[in-house]
């Protein structure tokens, strides 16, 4: 019995990568007017399964049917032709180019003589943008947009091809809570228009909020497809992991020791102004703020990746050289970047080379590289963080998104830092891995290191932090103490609704 609104059905679909079966004999039906969530641990094969129907691979096996007839989806062009559009895990827009050109790439309106028709461009671009409820100048460049707006432009670009199936791979990993809400209202709107929507996410509350059906994958195989009301968060996690996990977020007591890092009146014009705070050993200090509040910029300037205009940073009572990250890293202050694809990982090099990228001074003597200790270091962090890779010698770019994030964290932890700045440390990782990451961070803090935690994941921030700085529009508004820390207080504070409890 096939239902009338069946948009696409996969039967026995498999995809093999050298040395492994990433998708193993999966059957899946997608219906029009339905949000279908796909969940599973990192490396379960979610992205690969979706890339199959967007035509990324020419060598999958099995049958994909649309409208009852088998279709061959062996190239992205073919998939587009059949009305399948995907918003990828990593954005695919060209930053230095205008929104309009990004949106209309491949179908730019040209007048006579092949000259661009700017009026028509603006008109079409505005039309595309209005569908996602975005009102910006289409001739702005993508660089000038916030993460959230860029995400919407990306969706608008895909919608411009009039898809009947829209796939979103972890679309909210870079969004704040109300941006997520705006995205959801758009998804509901599209669903009511009759699109079949696939939603990949590791975020349980989001899935329960937006999805109609959930398919769980594990080790490349489909475990089950269920209606959302048949599930509880707990049963869902159990299906994903294969065992019972009782507590998703760890809670850490506030601890703090001696003064490690002192930040005095740090300013970078246009990004953050006059920020001062102290960080103690054993402490995890959160930074609450919306994206665009200057959190990342503050962290980058603090560690010397970006310049500062005024102010000073003292590490163990000695000033840090400004804009000199190699020096800062030698002294034990390490930054985990939020952008693992562009500037975090060496995607073309092996996991091994990535993990040891920051610790050459430890592995060399008189400039000569001594590989003896290398294997032990790589094994230690692969095991601690549970990096799922066939061997340490596979390319980091072939790992699933969540496992790449673990490699990145491994690279930072391997330096044995005294101060660790984490910028969205658990972006795109599954529940189990998030727990492992939290445990690793807590173990580091317990051993006497200080941690500065930037995260849009409020339960994470509330659970781990001893205190939280509140940053808004580049200014430090105040500090939330452990007693006042909760998801709600963080949310209110980040949005500017915060009154100091002691006047």
């Amino acid at each position: 019995m096939e239902s009338i609104n069946l948009a696409l059905s996969m039967q026995g679909v498999s995809k093999r990568f050298p040395g492994m079966l990433a998708v193993d004999n999966v059957d899946l039906d997608l219906h029009a007017g339905e949000v279908h969530a796909i969940m599973g641990e990192n490396g379960a094969g979610k992205s690969t399964l979706m890339k199959i129907i967007t035509g990324s691979f020419s060598d999958y096996t099995g049958v994909v049917k649309m409208g009852g007839r088998p279709v061959a989806l062996h190239s992205p062009a073919a998939a587009k032709e059949y009305g399948i559009g995907m918003v990828y895990q990593e954005l695919s827009l060209a930053p230095p180019i205008s929104i309009a050109e990004n949106l209309l790439a491949g179908r730019l309106p040209a007048g006579r003589l092949g000259l661009l028709d700017r009026k028509a461009m603006a008109r079409e671009a505005r039309h595309c943008l209005s569908e996602v409820g975005l009102d910006v100048d289409p001739f702005k460049t993508v660089e000038e947009l916030s993460q959230h707006e860029a995400q919407l432009v990306e969706i608008a670009k895909v919608l411009g091809n009039r898809p009947c199936i829209l796939i979103m791979d972890e679309p909210t990993s870079a969004l704040s809570q109300d941006e997520v809400q705006r995205l959801f209202s758009m998804i509901r709107h599209l669903k009511n228009r009759g699109l079949a929507i696939v939603y990949i996410s590791h975020h349980l509350p989001e899935v329960f909020e937006i999805a109609d059906k959930v398919t769980v994958m594990r080790d490349g195989r489909k475990i089950a497809t269920k209606e959302i009301h048949e599930l509880t968060p707990r049963s869902l996690v159990q299906m994903m992991v294969g065992q019972d996990i009782d507590e998703f977020y760890r809670h850490r007591e506030a601890k703090s020791g001696w003064l490690v890092l002192q930040v005095n009146n740090l300013t970078r014009l246009g990004f953050f102004h006059d920020v001062s705070f102290e960080l103690h050993s054993g402490e995890i200090l959160g930074i609450a703020g919306l994206s665009g509040s200057g959190r990342t910029e503050l962290a980058r300037s603090l560690c010397g990746l970006d310049p500062v205009d005024a102010g000073q940073v003292f590490l163990e009572n000695a000033p840090l050289k400004p804009a000199n990250y190699p020096d800062t890293l030698q002294r034990g202050l390490v930054y985990l970047t939020e952008d693992r694809k562009q500037e975090g990982l060496f995607l073309r090099l092996s996991v091994r080379r990535n993990v040891i990228a920051s610790i050459f001074p430890l592995l060399t003597r008189f400039g000569i590289y001594r590989p003896e200790k290398e294997t032990a270091v790589v094994r230690r962090w692969s095991e601690t963080l549970g990096i799922a890779a066939a061997s340490p010698d596979v390319g980091a770019g072939t790992l699933s998104g969540g496992n790449q994030q673990k490699v990145l964290l491994g690279k930072c932890l391997a330096t044995n830092p005294e101060v660790l700045i984490l910028d969205e440390p658990s972006r795109g990782v599954d529940v189990g891995a998030k727990r492992k990451i939290h445990e690793a961070v807590m173990a580091l803090a317990d051993s006497g290191a200080a941690v500065l935690l930037i995260s849009s994941d409020l339960p994470e921030l509330a659970g781990l932090s001893s205190r939280a700085l509140i940053l808004r529009n580049g200014r430090l508004l105040g500090i939330l103490e452990k007693a006042e820390l909760s998801e709600e207080s963080l949310l209110l504070a980040a949005n500017g609704h915060w009154e100091p409890s002691h006047a």
Partner: protein
């Protein structure tokens, strides 16, 4: 999940690095067919010494490419400059003259390294303009003249032009120098912190920065190495020609990049190794030899070299795409 390191991958990796030597073997067989007296130790040494200059330059150039800076196009002017300065400094005695010549070449390399490493100039555009500037500078400083060393018996000049012709145990000095450079370079690239950091830089500059690697310093050293190798080549080339002049190194930039790319060092950086580059050098040497046997004229040989370069770059890109490794 079934995860096994497939033996097929290991074999194909081995074939890939041996591939260039296979091509060299084929070319050698071609040479042997074209001239029956090819298969002698003498002609092997002849080929080696014929490629020595190119080999020395390519060993240095490989570092620039490997570290993600594509190519140093000022190499020909460094070759000429170190040669001219050596000849000009001969009155100070041969050892001092050699030091002056090498330092002159290194100075250009240091400038390249500073500008590309610290000021982040585009390496191709910058070194291209340096080549242009240096040619003008040399023509101006030596009034467009060729500079001849005084080669009377017993003068430093006589020993200088003898350098190129020197043999040790029957093996030309230049061949030994080239082999030495390749061995030392291979060690540097694979077994030192500098070499490893060059690879990281070549793979992804932004990630090298967030890994705390001193990027300007690494870039600087890579350009300095290329200039060092080119200066040595300049001394030998000038000694061979018995004169120093601004155009002496012409063509070595392109030939060296061709050898480097043929040898499997990716133009996008971070991949390849020096043994491969040595194979690339051999292939170019044998190809030239074969064409000479076949009576192909010099400018037609350039056409062939150009085609080989295009084919090699195309092949690399194709392989990367096929393996899905093109993350650039």
């Amino acid at each position: 999940m079934p995860r096994t390191a497939s033996p097929k991958n290991i074999v194909s990796a081995a074939v890939e690095s041996a591939g260039i030597y296979l091509v060299a073997l084929l070319l050698a067989a071609g040479c042997a067919m074209a001239s029956p007296d090819f298969l002698t130790p003498e002609s092997f040494l002849r080929i080696l010494s014929a490629v020595s200059l190119l080999g020395i330059v390519a060993a240095g150039m490989a570092f620039v490419t490997y570290s993600g800076n594509m190519a140093d196009l000022s190499i020909p002017s460094i070759i000429a400059f170190s040669g001219i300065v050596t000849v000009a400094a001969l009155p100070l005695g041969l050892p001092l003259a050699l030091v002056c010549g090498t330092l002159a070449g290194l100075a250009v390399g240091a400038m390249n390294g500073l500008v590309v490493g610290v000021l982040q100039a585009n390496p191709i555009l910058w070194t291209l303009s340096v080549a242009f500037f240096m040619e003008g500078f040399m023509r101006f400083a030596w009034s467009n003249n060729q500079l001849y060393p005084d080669t009377a018996l017993g003068t430093p000049g006589a020993s200088f032009i003898h350098i190129f012709r020197l043999t040790i145990a029957g093996i030309p000095l230049i061949v030994l120098v080239m082999l030495g450079l390749f061995v030392a370079g291979h060690f540097l690239m694979t077994r030192t912190r500098f070499g490893r950091e060059s690879q990281l830089l070549g793979s992804c500059r932004a990630a090298a920065l967030t890994s705390g690697i001193r990027v300007p310093k690494v870039v600087f050293c890579n350009f300095l190495l290329a200039a060092f190798a080119a200066s040595i080549a300049g001394v030998f080339l000038t000694s061979m020609n018995k004169l120093g002049v601004f155009y002496l190194g012409q063509g070595y930039d392109f030939k060296a990049v061709t050898a480097v790319v043929l040898g499997g060092v990716m133009l996008s950086g971070g991949r390849g190794h020096l043994p491969g580059v040595f194979g690339g050098v051999l292939v170019i040497g044998l190809l030239t030899d074969l064409m000479q046997h076949l009576g192909v004229t010099a400018f037609r040989q350039n056409i062939v070299t150009g085609i080989v370069f295009i084919a090699a770059v195309g092949w690399q890109q194709y392989r990367l795409r096929a393996q899905g490794k093109d993350y650039a």
